[in-house]
Protein backbone atom coordinates (compact mmCIF):
# COMPACT_ATOMS: atom_id res chain seq x y z
CA UNK A 1 0.00 0.00 0.00
CA UNK A 2 1.28 3.48 -0.84
CA UNK A 3 1.83 5.67 2.16
CA UNK A 4 2.13 9.40 2.59
CA UNK A 5 5.14 9.94 4.80
CA UNK A 6 6.13 12.94 6.90
CA UNK A 7 8.02 14.44 3.98
CA UNK A 8 4.95 14.56 1.75
CA UNK A 9 2.77 15.79 4.57
CA UNK A 10 5.14 18.65 5.43
CA UNK A 11 5.43 19.82 1.83
CA UNK A 12 1.66 19.53 1.29
CA UNK A 13 0.94 21.58 4.40
CA UNK A 14 3.41 24.20 3.26
CA UNK A 15 1.75 24.36 -0.16
CA UNK A 16 -1.69 24.65 1.38
CA UNK A 17 -0.44 27.30 3.81
CA UNK A 18 1.17 29.34 1.05
CA UNK A 19 -1.99 29.16 -1.07
CA UNK A 20 -4.13 30.31 1.82
CA UNK A 21 -1.67 33.10 2.69
CA UNK A 22 -1.66 34.14 -0.98
CA UNK A 23 -5.45 34.24 -0.94
CA UNK A 24 -5.63 36.24 2.25
CA UNK A 25 -2.88 38.69 1.23
CA UNK A 26 -4.09 38.79 -2.38
CA UNK A 27 -0.50 38.16 -3.42
CA UNK A 28 0.31 36.22 -6.58
CA UNK A 29 3.96 36.02 -5.53
CA UNK A 30 3.12 33.76 -2.61
CA UNK A 31 1.10 31.49 -4.89
CA UNK A 32 4.08 31.22 -7.20
CA UNK A 33 6.30 30.38 -4.23
CA UNK A 34 4.03 27.41 -3.61
CA UNK A 35 4.90 26.17 -7.10
CA UNK A 36 8.41 25.42 -5.87
CA UNK A 37 7.04 22.91 -3.37
CA UNK A 38 4.44 21.59 -5.79
CA UNK A 39 7.21 20.82 -8.27
CA UNK A 40 9.04 18.88 -5.56
CA UNK A 41 5.93 16.78 -4.88
CA UNK A 42 5.21 16.39 -8.58
CA UNK A 43 8.70 15.12 -9.45
CA UNK A 44 8.48 12.58 -6.60
CA UNK A 45 5.04 11.33 -7.64
CA UNK A 46 5.99 11.31 -11.32
CA UNK A 47 9.11 9.21 -10.70
CA UNK A 48 7.35 6.71 -8.48
CA UNK A 49 7.18 3.36 -10.30
CA UNK A 50 3.67 2.09 -11.04
CA UNK A 51 2.62 -0.73 -8.74
CA UNK A 52 2.07 -3.19 -11.59
CA UNK A 53 5.60 -2.54 -12.86
CA UNK A 54 7.21 -3.41 -9.53
CA UNK A 55 7.98 -7.10 -9.48
CA UNK A 56 10.18 -8.24 -6.66
CA UNK A 57 10.97 -11.81 -5.76
CA UNK A 58 12.60 -12.90 -2.52
CA UNK A 59 14.37 -16.07 -1.56
CA UNK A 60 15.74 -17.05 1.84
CA UNK A 61 18.54 -19.43 2.64
CA UNK A 62 19.28 -20.40 6.23
CA UNK A 63 22.42 -22.39 6.99
CA UNK A 64 24.75 -23.30 9.83
CA UNK A 65 28.28 -22.00 9.77
CA UNK A 66 31.20 -22.36 12.10
CA UNK A 67 32.01 -18.97 13.51
CA UNK A 68 35.14 -19.65 15.57
CA UNK A 69 34.31 -20.73 19.11
CA UNK A 70 30.57 -21.22 18.51
CA UNK A 71 28.26 -22.36 15.76
CA UNK A 72 26.49 -19.59 13.94
CA UNK A 73 23.37 -19.50 11.84
CA UNK A 74 23.60 -17.49 8.68
CA UNK A 75 20.54 -16.07 6.99
CA UNK A 76 20.74 -14.88 3.40
CA UNK A 77 17.80 -13.10 1.82
CA UNK A 78 18.03 -12.40 -1.87
CA UNK A 79 15.62 -9.98 -3.47
CA UNK A 80 15.55 -9.85 -7.25
CA UNK A 81 13.96 -7.16 -9.37
CA UNK A 82 12.00 -8.96 -12.08
CA UNK A 83 10.40 -5.79 -13.34
CA UNK A 84 11.67 -3.65 -16.18
CA UNK A 85 12.24 -0.48 -14.15
CA UNK A 86 14.84 0.72 -11.76
CA UNK A 87 13.38 0.94 -8.28
CA UNK A 88 14.67 2.26 -5.03
CA UNK A 89 14.19 -0.47 -2.46
CA UNK A 90 14.64 -0.59 1.29
CA UNK A 91 14.76 -4.13 2.65
CA UNK A 92 14.19 -5.00 6.26
CA UNK A 93 14.15 -8.42 7.83
CA UNK A 94 13.14 -9.43 11.32
CA UNK A 95 15.29 -11.83 13.29
CA UNK A 96 13.65 -14.57 15.31
CA UNK A 97 12.36 -13.87 18.77
CA UNK A 98 15.12 -13.33 21.31
CA UNK A 99 17.92 -13.46 18.75
CA UNK A 100 20.76 -10.99 18.73
CA UNK A 101 22.40 -10.50 15.37
CA UNK A 102 26.15 -10.78 15.79
CA UNK A 103 27.26 -10.00 12.25
CA UNK A 104 25.75 -8.48 9.13
CA UNK A 105 22.83 -6.12 8.72
CA UNK A 106 19.08 -6.54 8.88
CA UNK A 107 18.47 -3.59 6.57
CA UNK A 108 19.57 -2.63 3.13
CA UNK A 109 18.62 0.24 0.91
CA UNK A 110 19.61 1.03 -2.61
CA UNK A 111 18.60 1.24 -6.22
CA UNK A 112 17.72 -2.05 -7.88
CA UNK A 113 17.93 -2.20 -11.65
CA UNK A 114 15.94 -4.67 -13.75
CA UNK A 115 17.40 -8.14 -13.21
CA UNK A 116 19.62 -7.02 -10.33
CA UNK A 117 19.48 -8.61 -6.94
CA UNK A 118 20.15 -7.36 -3.46
CA UNK A 119 21.20 -9.47 -0.51
CA UNK A 120 20.67 -9.21 3.19
CA UNK A 121 23.19 -11.34 5.02
CA UNK A 122 23.29 -11.66 8.77
CA UNK A 123 24.22 -14.27 11.28
CA UNK A 124 23.50 -15.00 14.89
CA UNK A 125 24.86 -17.33 17.48
CA UNK A 126 23.08 -20.65 17.78
CA UNK A 127 20.56 -20.68 20.57
CA UNK A 128 18.14 -23.50 21.23
CA UNK A 129 14.84 -22.82 19.56
CA UNK A 130 12.76 -23.15 16.45
CA UNK A 131 13.01 -20.18 14.12
CA UNK A 132 10.55 -19.54 11.32
CA UNK A 133 10.58 -16.71 8.82
CA UNK A 134 7.77 -16.10 6.39
CA UNK A 135 8.29 -12.75 4.73
CA UNK A 136 10.74 -9.95 4.21
CA UNK A 137 9.70 -6.30 4.21
CA UNK A 138 10.46 -4.30 1.09
CA UNK A 139 9.72 -0.60 0.78
CA UNK A 140 9.73 0.79 -2.73
CA UNK A 141 9.93 4.53 -3.16
CA UNK A 142 10.71 7.22 -5.67
CA UNK A 143 14.24 8.70 -5.57
CA UNK A 144 13.06 11.62 -3.44
CA UNK A 145 11.27 9.36 -1.00
CA UNK A 146 7.98 11.20 -1.40
CA UNK A 147 5.78 8.16 -2.07
CA UNK A 148 6.56 4.81 -0.49
CA UNK A 149 4.93 1.42 -0.91
CA UNK A 150 5.38 -1.39 1.55
CA UNK A 151 5.59 -4.94 0.17
CA UNK A 152 5.64 -8.15 2.16
CA UNK A 153 7.60 -10.52 -0.03
CA UNK A 154 7.17 -14.19 0.76
CA UNK A 155 10.56 -15.58 1.76
CA UNK A 156 9.97 -18.68 3.87
CA UNK A 157 12.69 -20.26 5.89
CA UNK A 158 13.02 -22.20 9.09
CA UNK A 159 15.62 -23.82 11.23
CA UNK A 160 15.51 -25.81 14.44
CA UNK A 161 18.37 -25.39 16.82
CA UNK A 162 18.24 -28.53 18.88
CA UNK A 163 19.60 -28.78 22.40
CA UNK A 164 23.18 -29.94 22.69
CA UNK A 165 23.34 -33.65 23.32
CA UNK A 166 26.22 -35.17 25.21
CA UNK A 167 27.10 -38.54 23.70
CA UNK A 168 25.72 -41.50 25.63
CA UNK A 169 26.76 -45.06 25.13
CA UNK A 170 24.41 -48.00 25.53
CA UNK A 171 22.37 -47.82 28.73
CA UNK A 172 21.83 -51.13 30.54
CA UNK A 173 18.10 -50.79 31.11
CA UNK A 174 16.26 -53.48 33.05
CA UNK A 175 12.79 -52.17 33.93
CA UNK A 176 10.26 -54.08 35.98
CA UNK A 177 7.93 -54.60 33.05
CA UNK A 178 8.40 -54.44 29.32
CA UNK A 179 6.29 -54.01 26.22
CA UNK A 180 5.42 -57.09 24.21
CA UNK A 181 7.49 -56.25 21.19
CA UNK A 182 10.81 -57.79 20.22
CA UNK A 183 13.68 -55.86 21.71
CA UNK A 184 16.82 -56.22 23.72
CA UNK A 185 15.67 -56.44 27.33
CA UNK A 186 15.21 -59.86 28.93
CA UNK A 187 11.51 -59.91 29.78
CA UNK A 188 11.41 -62.75 32.36
CA UNK A 189 8.94 -64.51 30.08
CA UNK A 190 9.53 -67.66 28.09
CA UNK A 191 9.43 -67.36 24.35
CA UNK A 192 11.82 -66.84 21.48
CA UNK A 193 15.15 -65.43 22.53
CA UNK A 194 18.73 -66.41 23.01
CA UNK A 195 19.08 -67.22 26.72
CA UNK A 196 17.72 -70.55 28.01
CA UNK A 197 14.59 -70.02 30.11
CA UNK A 198 13.04 -73.45 30.69
CA UNK A 199 11.32 -76.51 29.23
CA UNK A 200 7.64 -77.07 28.65
CA UNK A 201 5.46 -79.64 26.98
CA UNK A 202 5.40 -79.53 23.20
CA UNK A 203 2.59 -77.54 21.59
CA UNK A 204 1.64 -78.10 17.99
CA UNK A 205 3.41 -75.50 15.91
CA UNK A 206 6.60 -75.34 18.00
CA UNK A 207 9.74 -75.50 15.81
CA UNK A 208 11.25 -78.97 15.81
CA UNK A 209 14.74 -77.62 16.35
CA UNK A 210 13.64 -76.45 19.81
CA UNK A 211 12.63 -79.92 20.93
CA UNK A 212 14.46 -81.05 24.04
CA UNK A 213 15.46 -84.52 22.80
CA UNK A 214 17.00 -85.63 26.08
CA UNK A 215 13.85 -85.00 28.12
CA UNK A 216 11.70 -86.41 25.34
CA UNK A 217 13.79 -89.61 25.45
CA UNK A 218 13.12 -89.98 29.16
CA UNK A 219 9.36 -89.63 28.64
CA UNK A 220 8.51 -91.80 25.64
CA UNK A 221 4.94 -90.63 25.19
CA UNK A 222 5.59 -86.90 25.45
CA UNK A 223 7.50 -84.23 23.61
CA UNK A 224 9.19 -81.27 25.31
CA UNK A 225 10.20 -77.93 23.89
CA UNK A 226 12.98 -75.66 25.14
CA UNK A 227 11.96 -72.11 25.97
CA UNK A 228 14.17 -69.08 25.77
CA UNK A 229 13.84 -65.84 27.64
CA UNK A 230 11.90 -63.42 25.54
CA UNK A 231 13.63 -60.12 24.79
CA UNK A 232 11.36 -57.13 24.66
CA UNK A 233 11.52 -53.39 24.56
CA UNK A 234 11.06 -50.95 27.39
CA UNK A 235 8.56 -48.14 27.59
CA UNK A 236 10.26 -45.01 28.80
CA UNK A 237 8.54 -41.75 29.66
CA UNK A 238 10.51 -38.56 30.09
CA UNK A 239 9.10 -35.74 32.19
CA UNK A 240 10.99 -32.52 31.68
CA UNK A 241 10.62 -29.59 34.06
CA UNK A 242 10.56 -26.23 32.26
CA UNK A 243 8.98 -24.23 35.08
CA UNK A 244 10.28 -20.77 35.65
CA UNK A 245 10.53 -21.27 39.39
CA UNK A 246 13.00 -24.13 39.06
CA UNK A 247 15.14 -22.44 36.43
CA UNK A 248 18.26 -20.36 37.02
CA UNK A 249 20.00 -18.15 34.49
CA UNK A 250 23.49 -16.71 34.46
CA UNK A 251 24.66 -13.99 32.12
CA UNK A 252 28.35 -14.07 31.34
CA UNK A 253 29.63 -10.54 32.08
CA UNK A 254 32.31 -10.79 29.38
CA UNK A 255 30.51 -12.32 26.42
CA UNK A 256 27.00 -11.30 27.50
CA UNK A 257 25.74 -14.79 26.78
CA UNK A 258 23.02 -16.28 28.89
CA UNK A 259 23.18 -19.79 30.20
CA UNK A 260 20.31 -21.40 32.02
CA UNK A 261 19.86 -24.53 34.05
CA UNK A 262 17.08 -25.61 31.72
CA UNK A 263 19.56 -25.89 28.87
CA UNK A 264 21.26 -28.67 30.82
CA UNK A 265 17.88 -30.26 31.53
CA UNK A 266 16.99 -30.16 27.83
CA UNK A 267 20.38 -31.58 26.86
CA UNK A 268 19.96 -34.44 29.29
CA UNK A 269 16.44 -35.17 28.02
CA UNK A 270 17.63 -35.13 24.41
CA UNK A 271 20.59 -37.39 25.13
CA UNK A 272 18.46 -39.90 27.05
CA UNK A 273 15.76 -39.92 24.36
CA UNK A 274 18.35 -40.55 21.69
CA UNK A 275 20.03 -43.32 23.69
CA UNK A 276 16.76 -45.12 24.44
CA UNK A 277 15.36 -44.76 20.95
CA UNK A 278 18.64 -45.94 19.49
CA UNK A 279 18.30 -49.09 21.60
CA UNK A 280 14.84 -49.63 20.10
CA UNK A 281 12.73 -48.67 23.11
CA UNK A 282 9.48 -46.78 23.02
CA UNK A 283 9.84 -43.27 24.35
CA UNK A 284 7.32 -40.58 25.20
CA UNK A 285 7.89 -37.18 26.71
CA UNK A 286 6.01 -34.53 28.63
CA UNK A 287 7.47 -31.05 29.05
CA UNK A 288 5.72 -28.86 31.58
CA UNK A 289 6.37 -25.20 32.02
CA UNK A 290 4.40 -22.47 30.27
CA UNK A 291 2.15 -25.25 29.09
CA UNK A 292 2.22 -29.01 29.05
CA UNK A 293 3.76 -30.18 25.77
CA UNK A 294 3.29 -33.91 25.29
CA UNK A 295 5.05 -36.11 22.76
CA UNK A 296 3.12 -39.35 22.69
CA UNK A 297 4.88 -42.69 22.68
CA UNK A 298 6.70 -43.74 19.55
CA UNK A 299 9.79 -45.35 18.15
CA UNK A 300 12.74 -44.60 15.96
CA UNK A 301 14.10 -41.56 14.24
CA UNK A 302 10.72 -39.96 13.64
CA UNK A 303 10.04 -40.00 17.37
CA UNK A 304 13.51 -38.65 18.10
CA UNK A 305 12.83 -35.83 15.68
CA UNK A 306 9.51 -35.06 17.40
CA UNK A 307 11.14 -35.03 20.82
CA UNK A 308 14.01 -32.84 19.69
CA UNK A 309 11.67 -30.35 18.04
CA UNK A 310 9.58 -30.23 21.18
CA UNK A 311 12.68 -29.56 23.27
CA UNK A 312 13.84 -26.93 20.79
CA UNK A 313 10.50 -25.13 21.03
CA UNK A 314 10.22 -25.24 24.79
CA UNK A 315 10.27 -21.91 26.59
CA UNK A 316 10.86 -21.71 30.29
CA UNK A 317 8.00 -20.15 32.20
CA UNK A 318 4.88 -20.99 34.06
CA UNK A 319 2.38 -19.73 36.50
CA UNK A 320 -0.66 -21.60 35.28
CA UNK A 321 -1.95 -24.98 36.31
CA UNK A 322 1.15 -26.69 34.94
CA UNK A 323 3.21 -24.96 37.55
CA UNK A 324 2.01 -27.59 39.97
CA UNK A 325 3.35 -31.00 39.35
CA UNK A 326 0.28 -32.44 41.14
CA UNK A 327 -1.77 -31.84 38.00
CA UNK A 328 0.56 -33.50 35.50
CA UNK A 329 -1.33 -35.88 33.22
CA UNK A 330 0.40 -39.10 34.24
CA UNK A 331 -2.20 -41.09 32.31
CA UNK A 332 -0.48 -40.28 29.05
CA UNK A 333 2.18 -42.79 30.09
CA UNK A 334 1.37 -46.48 30.19
CA UNK A 335 1.45 -48.14 33.60
CA UNK A 336 4.43 -50.21 32.39
CA UNK A 337 6.48 -47.15 31.59
CA UNK A 338 9.63 -46.28 33.41
CA UNK A 339 9.27 -42.56 34.14
CA UNK A 340 12.42 -40.48 34.16
CA UNK A 341 11.79 -37.07 35.70
CA UNK A 342 14.39 -34.39 34.95
CA UNK A 343 13.85 -31.54 37.36
CA UNK A 344 15.88 -29.33 39.70
CA UNK A 345 12.91 -29.74 42.10
CA UNK A 346 11.16 -27.50 44.56
CA UNK A 347 9.90 -28.57 47.94
CA UNK A 348 6.30 -28.99 46.80
CA UNK A 349 7.31 -31.59 44.19
CA UNK A 350 7.54 -34.31 46.80
CA UNK A 351 3.85 -35.11 46.48
CA UNK A 352 4.24 -35.73 42.77
CA UNK A 353 6.58 -38.64 43.42
CA UNK A 354 4.10 -40.08 45.90
CA UNK A 355 1.48 -39.91 43.16
CA UNK A 356 3.85 -41.47 40.68
CA UNK A 357 4.55 -44.40 42.97
CA UNK A 358 0.88 -44.75 43.84
CA UNK A 359 0.09 -45.08 40.14
CA UNK A 360 2.50 -48.02 40.01
CA UNK A 361 5.16 -46.43 37.88
CA UNK A 362 8.80 -47.14 38.24
CA UNK A 363 10.59 -43.82 38.56
CA UNK A 364 13.96 -42.25 38.23
CA UNK A 365 14.66 -38.65 39.13
CA UNK A 366 17.54 -36.77 37.54
CA UNK A 367 17.96 -33.52 39.40
CA UNK A 368 20.39 -30.98 37.94
CA UNK A 369 22.19 -29.33 40.82
CA UNK A 370 21.50 -25.58 40.86
CA UNK A 371 24.42 -24.94 43.23
CA UNK A 372 26.86 -26.55 40.84
CA UNK A 373 25.32 -24.58 37.99
CA UNK A 374 25.83 -21.31 39.89
CA UNK A 375 29.52 -22.14 39.93
CA UNK A 376 31.49 -23.72 42.69
CA UNK A 377 31.30 -26.60 45.00
CA UNK A 378 28.68 -26.11 47.72
CA UNK A 379 30.68 -28.38 50.00
CA UNK A 380 33.41 -25.79 50.04
CA UNK A 381 31.20 -22.84 50.84
CA UNK A 382 32.12 -23.28 54.45
CA UNK A 383 35.64 -22.10 53.55
CA UNK A 384 34.95 -18.68 52.07
CA UNK A 385 38.53 -17.46 52.29
CA UNK A 386 39.82 -20.37 50.24
CA UNK A 387 40.82 -19.28 46.74
CA UNK A 388 39.44 -16.66 44.41
CA UNK A 389 37.04 -18.92 42.54
CA UNK A 390 34.05 -18.12 44.73
CA UNK A 391 31.59 -15.54 43.67
CA UNK A 392 30.77 -12.61 45.85
CA UNK A 393 27.56 -14.09 47.15
CA UNK A 394 29.44 -17.13 48.32
CA UNK A 395 32.11 -15.09 50.06
CA UNK A 396 29.72 -13.34 52.35
CA UNK A 397 29.12 -15.29 55.54
CA UNK A 398 25.37 -14.63 55.59
CA UNK A 399 24.77 -15.82 52.01
CA UNK A 400 27.20 -18.67 52.51
CA UNK A 401 25.04 -19.90 55.38
CA UNK A 402 21.90 -19.49 53.27
CA UNK A 403 23.47 -21.57 50.50
CA UNK A 404 24.42 -24.27 52.95
CA UNK A 405 20.90 -24.32 54.36
CA UNK A 406 19.36 -24.54 50.90
CA UNK A 407 21.77 -27.28 49.97
CA UNK A 408 20.87 -29.26 53.07
CA UNK A 409 17.19 -28.82 52.30
CA UNK A 410 17.74 -30.10 48.79
CA UNK A 411 19.68 -33.12 50.04
CA UNK A 412 16.89 -33.96 52.47
CA UNK A 413 14.31 -33.71 49.70
CA UNK A 414 16.35 -35.96 47.41
CA UNK A 415 16.80 -38.48 50.21
CA UNK A 416 13.09 -38.37 50.98
CA UNK A 417 12.24 -39.09 47.33
CA UNK A 418 14.79 -41.89 47.11
CA UNK A 419 13.06 -43.56 50.10
CA UNK A 420 9.91 -43.81 47.97
CA UNK A 421 11.80 -46.40 45.88
CA UNK A 422 12.49 -43.85 43.22
CA UNK A 423 16.01 -43.79 41.85
CA UNK A 424 17.54 -40.38 42.35
CA UNK A 425 20.50 -38.84 40.55
CA UNK A 426 21.93 -35.67 42.06
CA UNK A 427 23.54 -34.40 38.89
CA UNK A 428 26.25 -31.79 38.99
CA UNK A 429 25.79 -30.26 35.60
CA UNK A 430 29.50 -29.64 35.15
CA UNK A 431 30.08 -33.39 35.14
CA UNK A 432 28.98 -36.07 32.65
CA UNK A 433 25.59 -37.61 33.25
CA UNK A 434 26.21 -40.96 31.61
CA UNK A 435 28.07 -42.73 34.48
CA UNK A 436 25.38 -41.69 36.95
CA UNK A 437 22.52 -42.85 34.72
CA UNK A 438 24.32 -46.08 33.99
CA UNK A 439 24.70 -46.78 37.70
CA UNK A 440 21.14 -45.71 38.51
CA UNK A 441 19.60 -47.93 35.83
CA UNK A 442 21.13 -51.09 37.28
CA UNK A 443 18.24 -53.37 38.26
CA UNK A 444 19.03 -53.41 41.98
CA UNK A 445 19.14 -49.62 42.16
CA UNK A 446 16.10 -49.10 40.00
CA UNK A 447 14.03 -51.53 42.06
CA UNK A 448 15.02 -50.27 45.50
CA UNK A 449 15.62 -46.64 44.65
CA UNK A 450 18.61 -44.80 46.06
CA UNK A 451 20.62 -41.69 45.65
CA UNK A 452 23.34 -41.52 43.02
CA UNK A 453 25.69 -38.62 43.23
CA UNK A 454 29.34 -37.86 42.80
CA UNK A 455 31.46 -38.75 45.79
CA UNK A 456 32.35 -35.69 47.82
CA UNK A 457 36.10 -34.98 47.79
CA UNK A 458 37.87 -35.78 51.06
Amino acid sequence: MGTVNNKTLTVSLLVAGLFLAALMARSGDLAWLALLFLAYLGVGIFQYPARELVRLEAERHVSRTNGGDASMIEVRVRVRNLGANLVRVALCDEPGEGLVVSAGALEWEGPLRAGDEAQLIYSFREKRGSYVWKTVHARVSDPLGVVETEYLLPAPGEIDVLPEQPAMRRLPLRPRSTLHAPGSIPARVGGSGTDFWGVREYHPGDPLRWLDWRLTARHPRKFFTKEFEQEEIADVGLIVDARGKTNLSIVDPISGEEDSLFEHTASAAGALAEAFLHQGHRVSMLVFGCEAAPVFAGYGKVQLNKIMRCLANTRVGGGGIHDFSDYLPLRMFSSRALLIVISPLVRSDRSFFLRLRAAGHQGLLISPDPFDFMGGDPAQVKQPADGAAYRDWRRRPETGLAVRAAHLERNLLLRDISQMQVGVIDWRVSEPLYPLVRAALKPEHLRRGGLQSRKEPE
Binding site: T10, A22, L33, P143
Partner: protein
Protein backbone atom coordinates in the same frame (compact mmCIF):
# COMPACT_ATOMS: atom_id res chain seq x y z
CA UNK B 1 30.66 21.38 12.15
CA UNK B 2 29.09 18.01 11.68
CA UNK B 3 31.74 16.67 9.31
CA UNK B 4 33.84 14.23 11.22
CA UNK B 5 37.53 13.92 10.62
CA UNK B 6 38.35 11.29 8.01
CA UNK B 7 34.84 11.32 6.44
CA UNK B 8 34.49 11.95 2.70
CA UNK B 9 33.00 15.26 1.74
CA UNK B 10 30.60 13.89 -0.86
CA UNK B 11 28.53 16.19 -3.11
CA UNK B 12 25.49 15.38 -1.02
CA UNK B 13 27.24 16.29 2.23
CA UNK B 14 28.68 19.44 0.71
CA UNK B 15 25.26 20.50 -0.53
CA UNK B 16 23.66 19.66 2.79
CA UNK B 17 26.01 22.11 4.47
CA UNK B 18 25.93 24.67 1.68
CA UNK B 19 22.17 24.84 1.10
CA UNK B 20 21.11 26.17 4.54
CA UNK B 21 23.95 28.73 4.43
CA UNK B 22 22.92 29.76 0.91
CA UNK B 23 19.29 30.00 1.99
CA UNK B 24 20.19 32.18 4.97
CA UNK B 25 22.45 34.35 2.81
CA UNK B 26 19.85 34.82 0.03
CA UNK B 27 17.09 35.70 2.45
CA UNK B 28 19.24 38.09 4.48
CA UNK B 29 20.65 39.86 1.43
CA UNK B 30 17.20 40.03 -0.18
CA UNK B 31 15.68 41.52 2.97
CA UNK B 32 18.62 43.89 3.41
CA UNK B 33 18.10 45.22 -0.11
CA UNK B 34 14.45 45.97 0.62
CA UNK B 35 14.85 46.84 4.35
CA UNK B 36 11.09 46.63 4.93
CA UNK B 37 10.98 47.29 8.68
CA UNK B 38 14.22 49.00 9.43
CA UNK B 39 17.35 47.74 11.17
CA UNK B 40 15.57 45.84 13.94
CA UNK B 41 13.59 43.76 11.46
CA UNK B 42 16.76 43.04 9.49
CA UNK B 43 18.52 41.85 12.66
CA UNK B 44 15.52 39.70 13.53
CA UNK B 45 15.35 38.20 10.03
CA UNK B 46 19.10 37.58 9.99
CA UNK B 47 18.92 35.94 13.41
CA UNK B 48 16.04 33.66 12.39
CA UNK B 49 17.78 32.74 9.12
CA UNK B 50 21.06 31.95 10.84
CA UNK B 51 19.34 29.92 13.57
CA UNK B 52 17.36 28.00 10.94
CA UNK B 53 20.52 27.30 8.98
CA UNK B 54 22.24 26.10 12.14
CA UNK B 55 19.28 23.89 13.03
CA UNK B 56 19.27 22.33 9.58
CA UNK B 57 23.01 21.68 9.75
CA UNK B 58 22.76 20.14 13.22
CA UNK B 59 19.89 17.85 12.20
CA UNK B 60 22.22 14.96 11.62
CA UNK B 61 24.03 15.30 14.92
CA UNK B 62 20.80 15.22 16.91
CA UNK B 63 19.05 12.90 14.42
CA UNK B 64 15.99 15.14 14.65
CA UNK B 65 13.71 15.36 11.64
CA UNK B 66 11.60 17.98 13.40
CA UNK B 67 14.52 20.37 13.74
CA UNK B 68 14.98 20.42 9.96
CA UNK B 69 11.24 20.74 9.38
CA UNK B 70 10.95 23.69 11.74
CA UNK B 71 13.91 25.30 9.97
CA UNK B 72 12.21 24.78 6.59
CA UNK B 73 8.99 26.35 7.87
CA UNK B 74 10.98 29.30 9.23
CA UNK B 75 12.84 29.76 5.94
CA UNK B 76 9.59 29.56 3.95
CA UNK B 77 7.98 32.06 6.30
CA UNK B 78 10.87 34.46 5.83
CA UNK B 79 10.68 34.06 2.03
CA UNK B 80 6.93 34.68 2.09
CA UNK B 81 7.43 37.74 4.34
CA UNK B 82 10.12 39.01 1.97
CA UNK B 83 7.86 38.57 -1.04
CA UNK B 84 5.07 40.42 0.70
CA UNK B 85 7.51 43.16 1.73
CA UNK B 86 8.58 43.65 -1.87
CA UNK B 87 12.08 42.22 -1.33
CA UNK B 88 14.01 40.88 -4.31
CA UNK B 89 11.77 38.02 -5.43
CA UNK B 90 14.53 36.01 -7.14
CA UNK B 91 16.61 36.00 -3.97
CA UNK B 92 13.57 35.07 -1.91
CA UNK B 93 12.68 32.20 -4.26
CA UNK B 94 16.31 31.08 -4.38
CA UNK B 95 16.41 31.15 -0.59
CA UNK B 96 13.26 29.05 -0.35
CA UNK B 97 14.59 26.62 -2.99
CA UNK B 98 17.90 26.26 -1.12
CA UNK B 99 16.01 25.69 2.13
CA UNK B 100 13.89 22.99 0.48
CA UNK B 101 17.00 21.29 -0.89
CA UNK B 102 18.77 21.55 2.47
CA UNK B 103 15.76 20.13 4.29
CA UNK B 104 15.48 17.24 1.84
CA UNK B 105 19.18 16.42 2.12
CA UNK B 106 19.09 16.64 5.91
CA UNK B 107 16.18 14.20 6.03
CA UNK B 108 17.90 11.91 3.59
CA UNK B 109 21.01 11.82 5.73
CA UNK B 110 19.11 11.02 8.91
CA UNK B 111 17.48 8.20 6.97
CA UNK B 112 20.74 6.79 5.58
CA UNK B 113 23.67 7.64 7.79
CA UNK B 114 26.99 7.41 5.96
CA UNK B 115 28.41 4.92 8.38
CA UNK B 116 25.57 2.45 7.79
CA UNK B 117 26.77 -0.99 6.82
CA UNK B 118 25.45 -0.93 3.28
CA UNK B 119 28.57 -0.24 1.28
CA UNK B 120 29.90 3.05 -0.01
CA UNK B 121 29.21 2.21 -3.64
CA UNK B 122 25.50 1.67 -3.06
CA UNK B 123 25.26 4.77 -0.92
CA UNK B 124 26.89 6.67 -3.73
CA UNK B 125 24.33 5.35 -6.21
CA UNK B 126 21.44 6.33 -3.94
CA UNK B 127 22.96 9.76 -3.52
CA UNK B 128 23.43 10.23 -7.24
CA UNK B 129 19.83 9.25 -7.99
CA UNK B 130 18.51 11.40 -5.23
CA UNK B 131 20.56 14.46 -6.17
CA UNK B 132 19.48 14.15 -9.80
CA UNK B 133 15.80 14.09 -8.83
CA UNK B 134 16.25 16.90 -6.33
CA UNK B 135 18.02 19.06 -8.91
CA UNK B 136 15.19 18.39 -11.35
CA UNK B 137 12.50 19.26 -8.81
CA UNK B 138 14.21 22.43 -7.56
CA UNK B 139 15.10 23.70 -11.02
CA UNK B 140 11.58 23.11 -12.38
CA UNK B 141 10.03 24.74 -9.32
CA UNK B 142 12.41 27.69 -9.30
CA UNK B 143 12.11 28.33 -13.04
CA UNK B 144 8.33 28.06 -12.88
CA UNK B 145 8.11 30.41 -9.92
CA UNK B 146 10.49 33.00 -11.41
CA UNK B 147 8.74 32.94 -14.78
CA UNK B 148 5.34 33.02 -13.08
CA UNK B 149 6.24 36.04 -10.99
CA UNK B 150 7.24 37.94 -14.08
CA UNK B 151 3.95 37.20 -15.78
CA UNK B 152 1.45 39.93 -15.23
CA UNK B 153 -1.93 38.25 -15.23
CA UNK B 154 -4.83 40.10 -13.68
CA UNK B 155 -7.58 37.86 -12.44
CA UNK B 156 -10.63 38.68 -10.35
CA UNK B 157 -10.39 37.60 -6.73
CA UNK B 158 -13.14 35.03 -7.08
CA UNK B 159 -11.27 33.30 -9.94
CA UNK B 160 -8.07 33.22 -7.90
CA UNK B 161 -9.98 31.80 -4.96
CA UNK B 162 -11.50 29.15 -7.18
CA UNK B 163 -8.09 28.33 -8.65
CA UNK B 164 -6.58 27.98 -5.18
CA UNK B 165 -9.48 25.79 -4.10
CA UNK B 166 -9.02 23.68 -7.19
CA UNK B 167 -5.27 23.39 -6.48
CA UNK B 168 -5.84 22.30 -2.88
CA UNK B 169 -8.52 19.83 -3.96
CA UNK B 170 -6.24 18.38 -6.66
CA UNK B 171 -3.45 18.03 -4.13
CA UNK B 172 -5.76 16.23 -1.74
CA UNK B 173 -6.92 13.91 -4.55
CA UNK B 174 -3.35 13.09 -5.52
CA UNK B 175 -2.46 12.24 -1.94
CA UNK B 176 -5.64 10.18 -1.55
CA UNK B 177 -4.76 8.30 -4.74
CA UNK B 178 -1.25 7.64 -3.50
CA UNK B 179 -2.61 6.36 -0.20
CA UNK B 180 -5.07 4.10 -1.95
Amino acid sequence: MTVKRGEDLTPSRLLRLACPIAAAACLTIGMASASPGGFATLVFVTGVALLSALAMILTRRWASVWLATIALVAFTGLAAYGLLAQADSVLMLAGAAAALAGWDLALEETRHPRDADSGAKLTGEIEKNHLRSLALAVSIGLMGAVVGQNLQVRLPFIVVALLVGLGVWMLERVLWEVNR
